[in-house]
């Protein structure tokens, strides 16, 4: 079987075959034979070239967390990781002369500092979101006009909530 896994913004092709309880793995043009055993659902013991390595792992919906010798890695299957991330969306938005404001983390809209139609300057504060009792200001990335505000104060938002749109001045 072949997989494409995303790790730290790089995609790796990896092929794997199971044979008599062993895994034959091809990665980075190298072949490896790996013995492995699940010690518990979250702990895997790998035997790679005679070296025993204990790995902790956990899965959520689309990510796999792997902890090896004090280092954590987050893996994603390629089809999921290639879907538009918020950062890309922001860049996309900016290139078209507008910015969609998403909160950096889930929280409550504490204060909206602008109104629709208002002119704003780059780095001007637009909205304050509160999470875990700390306030976070979100600033405009461009000089422009507030085109649309989709939420009101006291509403709960998450990182996928487009709070407002800023359109650049022509």
């Amino acid at each position: 079987m072949e997989f494409e896994l995303n790790l730290e913004n790089k995609t790796y092709k990896i092929s794997i075959q199971e044979r008599k309880g062993k895994y034959l793995i091809e990665l980075n043009n190298k072949r490896k034979e790996v013995n492995c055993e699940f010690i518990s659902p979250n702990c895997l013991s790998l035997d790679i070239d005679g070296k025993i390595i204990k790995v902790y792992l956990a899965l959520d919906e689309n990510k796999s967390f792997v902890f090896i010798q004090g280092n954590q890695f987050v893996l994603q299957e390629k089809d999921i990781s290639s879907s538009r991330t918020r950062k890309k969306e922001e860049e996309l938005g900016l290139s078209e002369g507008k910015q969609i404001i998403f909160p950096p983390m889930p929280g409550k809209i504490l204060k909206i500092l602008v109104s629709e139609g208002e002119k704003v300057k780059k780095k001007q504060s637009l909205v304050i979101v509160e999470a875990m009792k700390m306030e976070h200001e979100i600033k405009s990335a461009l000089d422009g006009v507030i085109k649309k505000i989709n939420y009101t104060e006291d509403q709960m938002v998450d990182t996928e909530s487009p709070i407002m749109e800023v359109e650049s001045e022509k």
Binding site: L44, F65, V66, F73, M105, E130, K133
Partner: protein, 498 residues
Amino acid sequence: MFKKILIANRGEIAVRIIRACKEMDIQTVAVYSEVDKKALHVQIADEAYLLGPAPPLESYLNIDKIIELTKKSGAEAIHPGYGFLAENHLFSKRCEDEKIVFIGPNSRSLRLVGDKLESRTTMTQAKIPIIPGMRMRGNNLKDYEEQAEKIGYPVMLKASAGGGGKGMRTIFSKDDLKSSIEAGMREAKSAFGDESVYLEKCIEKPRHIEFQVLADNYGDAVHLFERECSIQRRHQKIIEETPSTALTPELRSEMGEVAVKVIKTAGYNNAGTVEFLLDKNGKYYFLEVNARIQVEHPVTEMVTGVDLVKSQLKIAAGEKLPFKQEQLSQKGHAIECRIYAEDPQNDFFPSFGKILFVKEPSGPGIRNDSALYSGIEVTMHYDPILAKLICWGENREVSRKRSIQALSDYAILGIKTQIDYLKDLLSHPEFASGNTQTDFIPKNMSNWKEKRQVENLKEIALITGAIQEMNKTPVRRNMIRTTGFDPWLLLGRWELGE
């Protein structure tokens, strides 16, 4: 001693208090908000009652409900932990009126030290050195503008009812004054229910040194030496240690005596902390009294051998201090690292979600105060502190190295934490040499990026990922989405016996 107490808090501190009670054969009553139903403090207490919805005002700050549950459960005393109601003199007074013991200072001294402005005045009268600045809140923006000019920029904005960095800001110029004061007042209001803020002089490159104090109900008080808490991010302490590398034995005993004097001046009882700023010339200023058990109390416990939570319970129950100042000493060195649900790669934004798996470090000299377990949900409603890792060693270097090693052994999978950041901070040559001022982080860590040499480990991670993928058929993939990954499901058909 009490037979039963209620713990009006959550998270690691509630767990810490409940454990102390168990060792003293005191029954414990936990309270919780709707999102904390599965929290560890609820599981380990003898009884647990629902307070209300998640927002603190409806749960952990709901005085009426907490008093009602205390009476209903028959608890004789309330331990408030830190944060929430811990330094609320109205709550302490209410307990006194209701004949419930508040495990903390009396309401009169709590009101005095809780009002930073009032305590500044009282301490000046007692000839305790304080930081120059306002002794009253401003009535309007103009007051603050005038005071800021008088003190000289940069100035510190502080909440009169404050603590824990909430509402606190450094203001560099008049342009930032208005927005800083407004934001500070809002934060102070939401965190403490009191929006009074004041300005004081910004001491350059200070160290944050605090003294732990215990005072009984009969006017006797001792200090349990200092903690250095200079390593702060946005006024939030992240690493604390004792002893401080900055104190000579003479300065230590002088500041300790001043700390005891502060406590006696305030008519304070129970456990408390006297905070000082120490400037680069060795001059110290009284900052405030933290009238509660502190987050960083374990480092003091590790070097003095005194259990501060048990001491709090004994003092509240009317016992006298069991030791004199000269019987107390410091042995070895302890460092505490606060582990937060934050993403250091993304400007330390809070990280929420389910912790899929936790493995805590262990070994000689390692103490872990946490309320974590695999499967716990971290919500956005409360402080993002997850755990405190405290490492004791016979000297600072042993304690530092042990901390780095223990952090490397700490696996928290599913959400982001700043463990890697803490490791790099402890490894920094300036930290290793004890050169710790409050500007340590802006000076040494501002361009921090994860910089690990892990090409070979990446391969292992990918191999692990591939083995996982291989073991996911479409049906199994579905199962993972709904129930979580379980390799036992991959075993296929099997039979018992031969």
